[in-house]
């Protein structure tokens, strides 16, 4: 923190991996399990089962992990300095939410070299909602000198289930924070490590996936994939309904959730190609949400804490 306050050396601020290490250390020291990114394509860290499922039910939990988040429509062929098809989120879940959570969060900024006395930090109203996950919460986006760096949410509902206790979710936008710390104008100029830039590591991926997402996907196949995954998930949900006793307990709810995540990603691919009309959109989101809510119910029931909404 001190070294970048005074002088403008070439190596200003933490590297991207240094940032990740610092935040992970900070939250691990506060009792978080350090999890790994989920290995199914997701649009946000919230979709990781470590958030989506862990916030359900009464058991206390604390977890932190980095989640590469894919948003096909946001791709810009690597030409836009601020927009990415895939960006990194560092996600923290604290369940239940501690009373000093804002202070804890602000201390994490100090841990990555942000001196709040020298910056304009505020909590600006922004309520988060994920209609595909049947999840929403109340909170803010945290702005640092006008830059949104974190989404801060008190979860109220997830998978259609009311949450009790309430978890707090902190989602750090890692590229943005790193750009801020390093004072660079393009994400591709970020130092990922001391030796490698973000561009060296990720630019090809951005270009190729922009081509794929916007041009190369076959619409018919993508639709078919969506429907196949959805049908498989529904088949399993139905099988669970029909199952009894022990069979229900050992039922692979987590696998159904993976199918649901794939549907969500395929939906995003279709959307990026402009294949979803506004009227279709709501209906499709509803279909994915149905799967997500089904999984949430199943998960709670397996834990013996089913709360099926009336």
């Amino acid at each position: 923190m001190k070294q970048f306050k005074k002088r403008k050396s070439q190596a200003k601020g933490l590297t991207l991996q240094g940032l990740i290490l610092a935040l992970q250390k900070y939250w691990a020291d506060r009792g978080c399990v350090l999890q790994q990114p989920y290995d199914v394509e997701v649009g946000a860290g919230t979709m990781h089962p470590e958030t989506f499922l862990r916030v359900l039910g009464p058991e206390p939990y604390r977890v932190a992990y980095v989640q590469p988040s894919r948003r096909p429509a946001d791709g810009r062929y690597g030409e836009n300095p601020n927009r990415l098809y895939k960006h990194l989120q560092l996600q923290v879940i604290l369940k239940p939410s501690p009373a000093d959570i804002q202070a804890l969060y602000l201390k994490s900024l100090a841990a990555i070299g942000i001196d709040v006395m020298h910056h304009d930090v505020r909590f600006v109203e922004d309520n988060w909602e994920s209609p595909t996950l049947g999840a929403w919460g109340i909170g803010w986006e945290v702005r640092l000198d006008g830059l949104e760096i974190t989404q801060f949410t008190y979860f109220q509902q997830c998978g259609g289930q009311d949450l009790d206790p309430v978890s707090v979710e902190l989602t750090y936008g890692l590229e943005r924070i790193a750009m801020f710390l390093q004072g660079v104008a393009s994400v591709y100029d970020l130092r990922w490590s001391d030796e490698f830039s973000y561009g060296q590591i990720r630019l090809d991926e951005e270009r190729q996936f922009s081509v794929y997402n916007f041009e190369a996907t076959d619409p018919a196949t993508t639709w078919k994939l969506f429907e196949l995954h959805e049908a498989e998930a529904k088949r399993l949900l139905k099988a669970y309904d029909d199952a009894e006793g022990e069979e229900k307990k050992r039922f692979p709810a987590l696998a159904v959730y993976d199918l649901c995540l794939r549907c969500s990603h395929l939906f995003n691919l279709l959307d990026a190609r402009g294949l979803i009309s506004v009227t279709q959109r709501a209906a499709l989101i509803g279909r994915v949400r149905q799967l997500a809510c089904g999984v949430a119910e199943m998960y709670l029931e397996q834990k013996g804490k089913a709360e099926v909404p009336a």
Binding site: N82, V121, V166
Partner: protein
């Protein structure tokens, strides 16, 4: 005896409360507190003052009663005759009544009632201590504040509030009013600014609350913060010879976004000034909450004023940070601008098929087809009625392009710029000025004070768009109710009214509704709009028209009623008749005439169904000599004369002529009994009055005008 009072302070310490909710919430907080104080007898003359900042809502009162006044209660018991025996000793009845009231029978007193003398128990109910009352009351007060959206944070069964409550200050006369809410115990410690102040700031009450917080970098009083921002904005302007775009909405927002506001000046690359000003200002104002800045000549300057929640920018990093964010935003906007220019606006049209307007009303492509048809219809109407600026091809082109910007990158990012972006693109792509301006303006007016489109083509497209929304939405049952009006139909109807009145455009509202209905029938969704819907839309628009006439043009309620009752299809004509009525109602003949017309209407209403008495025409041979014949003659003469004025649009003159009927009408009522014995005479008289009422109610229905005395 001077009453014992104590000062009161309540502060709800919170995580950041949304700025947009604070002003209303704090007003409500005041009302709720006053209600509770008053109903518990604690309120004296000292006002309840409220304060609000992002992390707190507070209220104080310099003097509350420390104790409720005692209440003397008299409970009537049995009659005297039952309560005492003949030697005046209390009976069993009296004893048991006294015992029930908890007093000795000897303490009973006699009271006289209308039914005779009774015994009564007089009890003084001592007032409760304010401290005790407040302890029970305050948690309720806090929970009673209504928020647009609230949350729970300590479990579903626990307290709901807008954001988590983290501390509570509750003091009466410097002493803690003890209660606990959401696991937080009330105390005497407030909190200073998150970074600049102490975490715990002890206070004694109203005497030191604002002062102690100020010392800890919190200006709890919004008025003080607003003044500070205004002062600093002005100072920056004076120092650098520019003028800030002072925007009351933005000022209000930043006032409630900060606990210790400080205004800093930032700069941006003047190369961005080649982007349209509208886009630059939207980015600064709506997205970043910055004030834009202009030079003396009115041109946008490459600076901005940001309000930060700190005492100063210690190392210049805040300024640098805000500048960097703005640069990225502007770079985005430039990228969108350039991307969008790769296609002409018209080329976006097919994509509108993918954008739904409303599920039952189809896509925006469908809407555009209807709005084009309707725009041509309106422009033709006006051209044919002699308004030569009405340009049918221009209206058609503007309507064709008006929604194309919905699929541009720019509007996807900055939705509030819809219309404006289309207009800017149309201009940049060489569309005629008339068309570009029409596209730019066609969402206007967005409120009572918003201007109407600047040219006639813009008015045409704006009206066509709004009429299509109104008739279409009503047609599929989307009628606004209460505060729910998702398709902004009230605004649409208001827009139609404003455009017609301000441009003085003649138009039959029913014909326009029918035309919009025809467009909906001929184009997808091929909707049939029935007569009932037609009436509903018309009534809805007239309701808005009434609102405009009263709120904007200052006409009285009864004037508007009188004029609308006499015909409401053409609002420009309505406005002219209103002017005439307003002018004439102050003259001496008018009020008695209005009374007479009201009398006529009552008589006719009493006479029942007109088919039972109405004659085909007045039969002169049945008219009595004198006042009745006189009225008939005079009415015919006045009708001729007034009719001429009316046809020439000279409503005021017409009304003046009508008003001169007054003595004749008065004379008639003095001399003639309408409900005569003879049936034919009676029916003839009723017919005479009915014709009179009809003939003279075409400008305004005078019977709707409230006379001075009864107003």
């Amino acid at each position: 005896m001077k009453e014992r009072t104590a000062d009161f302070l309540l502060e709800i310490g919170c995580e950041e409360i949304p700025a947009r909710m604070l002003p209303r919430a704090v007003e409500e907080f005041k009302v709720i507190l006053e209600k509770y104080f008053a109903s518990n007898g604690l309120l004296l003359n000292a006002p309840v003052e409220v304060y609000a900042a992002p992390r707190r809502i507070a209220a104080q009162c310099r003097a509350l009663r420390v104790k409720q006044p005692d209440v003397t209660q008299e409970i009537t018991g049995p009659p005297k005759s039952v309560a005492y025996d003949n030697v005046g000793r209390p009976t069993k009845a009296a004893e048991s009544f006294a015992a029930k009231q908890g007093i000795a029978a000897g303490k009973l007193k006699l009271v006289s009632t209308p039914r005779g003398e009774y015994v009564a128990a007089v009890k003084v109910i001592p007032g409760r201590a304010a401290m005790e009352l407040l302890r029970e009351m305050l948690p309720q007060v806090i929970q009673e504040i209504a928020w647009p959206r609230s949350m729970y944070w300590t479990g579903r069964e626990a307290v709901r509030f807008v954001r988590p409550i983290r501390w509570l200050v509750a003091l009466l006369g410097g002493k803690r009013i003890a209660f606990t809410m959401a696991g937080v115990a009330s105390g005497n410690a407030s909190a200073g600014h998150r970074f600049l102040g102490k975490a715990k700031v002890p206070v004694r009450g109203p005497s030191d609350y604002l002062k102690n917080l100020r010392a800890n970098y919190v200006l709890a009083d919004p008025a003080e913060r607003r003044r500070k921002i205004e002062r600093q904005v002005a100072a920056h302007g004076a120092r650098h010879a520019f003028r800030a775009h002072t925007d009351p909405d933005l000022l209000e927002q930043v006032t409630y976004l900060n606990e210790y506001p400080t205004v800093i000046l930032g700069d941006f690359d003047s190369a961005f000034l080649d982007l349209p000003e509208e886009i630059l200002i939207t980015v600064m104002k709506d997205h970043q909450k910055y004030f834009g800045v202009e030079r003396r000549d009115g041109q946008l300057a490459p600076h901005f004023l940001a309000v930060i929640d700190l005492d100063r920018d210690r190392s210049g990093q805040v300024k640098a940070g805000h500048e960097r964010v703005l640069r990225a935003r502007f770079a985005d906007a430039r990228f969108f601008w350039q991307t969008d220019q790769k296609q002409s606006l018209g080329e976006h049209l097919p994509k509108l098929e993918q954008v739904s307007y409303q599920s039952k009303l189809g896509s925006y492509a469908d809407k555009v087809a209807r709005v084009r048809w309707m725009s041509r219809w309106l422009a033709e109407q006006w051209f044919n009625s002699g308004i030569h600026q009405a340009d049918v091809p221009a209206a058609d082109r503007a309507a064709e392009l008006c929604k194309c910007d919905l699929v541009t990158e720019m509007v996807r990012e900055f939705t509030e710029l819809q219309g404006i972006v289309g207009g800017l693109y149309a201009e940049a792509q060489g569309e005629p000025e008339e068309v570009a301006a029409a596209v730019y303006d066609h969402y206007r007016p967005v409120g009572l004070d918003d201007p109407i489109p600047r040219n006639l083509t813009g008015c045409v497209v704006a009206m066509a768009d709004k009429l299509d929304s109104l008739v279409g939405c009503f047609g599929v049952g989307l009628v606004p109710s209460g505060s729910s009006d998702p398709y902004a139909l009230r605004r649409a109807a208001l827009g139609v009214v404003k455009i017609l009145l301000e441009r003085k455009l003649p138009m039959s509202l029913s014909a326009a509704i029918s035309a919009a209905a025809k467009a909906l029938a001929q184009h997808p969704p091929k909707l049939t709009v029935g007569a009932e819907i037609h009436t509903q839309v018309l009534d809805f628009m007239l309701e808005r028209a009434r609102y405009v006439f009263q709120q904007r043009n200052g006409f009285a309620y009864d004037e508007v009623s009188a004029v609308l009752a006499a015909g409401a299809d053409d609002l420009v004509d309505v406005a002219k008749r209103l002017e005439a009525l307003k002018a004439i109602r102050a003259t001496k003949n008018f009020p008695p005439l209005a009374v007479a017309f009201k009398r006529i209407r009552k008589i006719l209403e009493k006479a029942g169904d007109p088919s039972a008495w109405r004659l085909g025409a007045v039969r002169t041979e049945l008219l009595a000599e004198g006042a009745e014949k006189q009225l008939h003659r005079e009415a015919q003469r006045v009708a001729r004369e007034a009719g001429e004025h009316k046809r020439a649009g000279r409503y005021r003159e017409a009304l003046q002529v009508i008003a001169r009927l007054r003595p004749t009408v008065d004379q008639f009522f003095d001399d003639v009994l309408v409900m005569a014995e003879d049936e034919q005479v009676r029916r003839n008289r009723l017919t005479l009055l009915a014709e009179l009422l009809k003939e003279f109610s075409t400008i305004a229905d005078f019977s709707e005008v409230v006379s001075e005395g009864s107003r």
